[in-house]
Subunit: 342 residues, 2 copies
DNA sequence: CTGAAAGCGCTTACAG
DNA sequence: CTGAAAGCGCTTACAG
């Protein structure tokens, strides 16, 4: 059952010949708002349908200088937060007439990725990948391609960014844990070079300090499931009194791993022996088997803002650096002891 | 901090002028294997670097007829199975020099999506979305664009497909549950029009029949979290003896929801009161809070096969219909009572 | 409103 | 090995 390229693609010239009109007319028939008579457009559309013609988006991009392509850079999709935003942002951009060119980034091939993105003449870039090659930022600024960093912030970069208030979020957690009566509050960090981790940690320490506490112990989980499990083991495989009575884990993805270790491996109870709080409020945080107390980022608003920032810059043809910050909200579930009273 | 399009893009002509060579020479310098002297290439590369030149992939696509673009159609990313495969296939295609154009499909805008895909001159299509517009399949066959259906099969479609043996998988589950001593075995279906559900269900019923059993009751969850929860409620909110003692849930994503309802809402124990088995073996199935018995699809192999089938057809320029079927494997965890003995 | 023509930035025969 | 030239399939001034 093999068929070799059945038909050479139909071009606007073919349609023109078939409809006995000029090639320009065919082009106009497919350009919204072009000056063409109703009658002519109908004739052309009919011919086009008969021949199965579709305009070549690449040719259009060439001549118009607008590819309709937006690059999305993502590092990994195992943390649910990213697939969800990828899905939503993609839908939004599609609705606005753009297409998403997906780039899975690798710590390795930075230059290669930068090169590919630019070769495809994308009109904008969304970066949800932690590793921002500074070369990419620079090249984009040079070329006038707007870049929006999603869920990260780089002070020295000319790129716009959309984040939630991770400092406030960290502080909310500290406050909640202290008011919950915890005495030995630990922290499991994500990737230490990420702005999310930096801000959550800073806010958290500040919050503790406001209550006269300091962090009981700090480990690094690197935003990975296994990294978090190791951190949890080291932290909690100790007698009562030497282990934390609460842990703030820098994101939900790691928090699930931490809860597994605490409950299943070490046989401790959550929150009775150890309270656990995560960050992101991914869908699984609401799953009853975890029922994770966490901080919700204003996901929908962040997604909207990302699309808006990007499209606005593309359409006006000017690149601004803007930073949109959305409020964070604590979602109290059962994985952390609740403050009594108040 | 606004900067308006700083520099007009650098073209091969600019580089040619700067290096005092012909434009064709510049093109050759960037074409692997082109006939050009070492000396000339170096001179050109140097000029290109100075000017910040990068070849325009769209222009190349126009003239060469190869866009380097592959469309991936995905319906939703909340079931982990899909983000993971999206990530892996994307990486594989990128490594082979292709770029992924992402299309989030909507039950609504079928024609619109079809049209966009074809306009972008993609060289191949991966469909991981359930809704295959038959128009897309037909158009692609006409145009000679290879299509690979991932994790689904449509007998009447000219598209290739990569699936695991869902019939065998369903049978494995029936066998395992019966041997585990279950007497009232229920089924919660996914999307009834999907080939995965159809095959898993068929295999499951066959397996039951081989042991002289029939399904105790059948509900439909539609592959959605909420749909599954409702099904579980109806099935299990009854006295012992009237409710199933085991449920095969057509995918893991729904199985988590079912376990939540059974344990948390209804206060029953898993597997003591009800055994639960899922399908897919997504990462979360191994999370200790669920520890879900499930059937593992040969994910890595399926991903490899998808990329291979597609690239092979692209590179040979001929479209075959091929169906790759991979074995399914039962992964025994603790959510279902294990067969005793042997 | 309509058509002929130029041109987007490349690749690739074709001569030399 | 190198360059001049044609051409990929469109959009868009420019005349009429």
């Amino acid at each position: 059952m093999t068929e070799t390229n059945p038909s050479t693609p139909v071009t606007s010239g073919d349609v023109a010949r078939h409809a006995k009109v000029s090639q320009s007319a065919v082009s106009r028939a497919f350009t919204p708002g072009a000056s063409i008579s109703q009658k002519m457009r109908e004739k052309i559309l009919k011919s086009a349908a008969e021949l199965g013609y579709r305009p070549n988006a690449l040719a259009r991009a060439m001549i118009s200088g607008k590819s309709g392509l937006i690059a999305m850079l993502v590092a990994y999709l195992d943390n649910q937060f990213y697939p969800i935003m990828l899905e939503q942002i993609s839908r939004k951009l599609q609705q606005s007439g753009y297409q998403v060119l997906l780039f899975m980034t690798d710590p390795g091939d930075q230059d290669e990725v930068v090169s590919r993105i630019l070769q495809y003449q994308v009109e904008g870039i969304v970066m949800a990948s932690a590793t921002l090659s500074s070369e990419l930022a620079r090249e984009c600024a040079r070329t006038g391609i707007p870049v929006v960093l999603f869920n990260r912030y780089v002070a020295t970069s000319p790129a716009s960014s959309v984040v939630s208030d991770n400092i406030a979020g960290g502080r909310l957690i500290a406050d909640y844990l202290v008011r919950g009566g915890h005495q030995r509050i630990a922290f499991i960090a994500g990737a230490e070079d990420s702005s999310t981790n930096r801000d959550r940690e800073a806010g958290f320490y500040h919050g503790l300090a406001e209550h006269g506490q300091t962090v009981f112990e700090r480990m690094v989980g690197g935003y990975s499931f296994d990294g978090a499990a190791n951190a949890a083991r080291e932290l909690c495989n100790r007698p009562h009194g030497e282990r934390p009575d609460a842990i703030f884990v820098a994101n939900d993805h790691m928090a699930f791993s931490v809860m597994d270790v605490i409950r299943d491996e070490l046989g401790l109870r959550v929150p009775k022996d150890v309270s656990v709080i995560g960050y992101d409020d991914v869908p699984q945080a609401a799953w009853k088997a975890y029922d994770l107390t966490t901080v919700s980022q204003a996901g929908a608003e962040m997604i909207d803002a990302t699309a808006r920032l990007l499209l606005e810059q593309i359409e006006t043809g000017s690149v601004h650096k803007k930073a949109a910050i959305f409020p964070a909200k604590l979602v109290a579930r059962s994985s952390a002891r609740r403050p009594s009273g108040g």
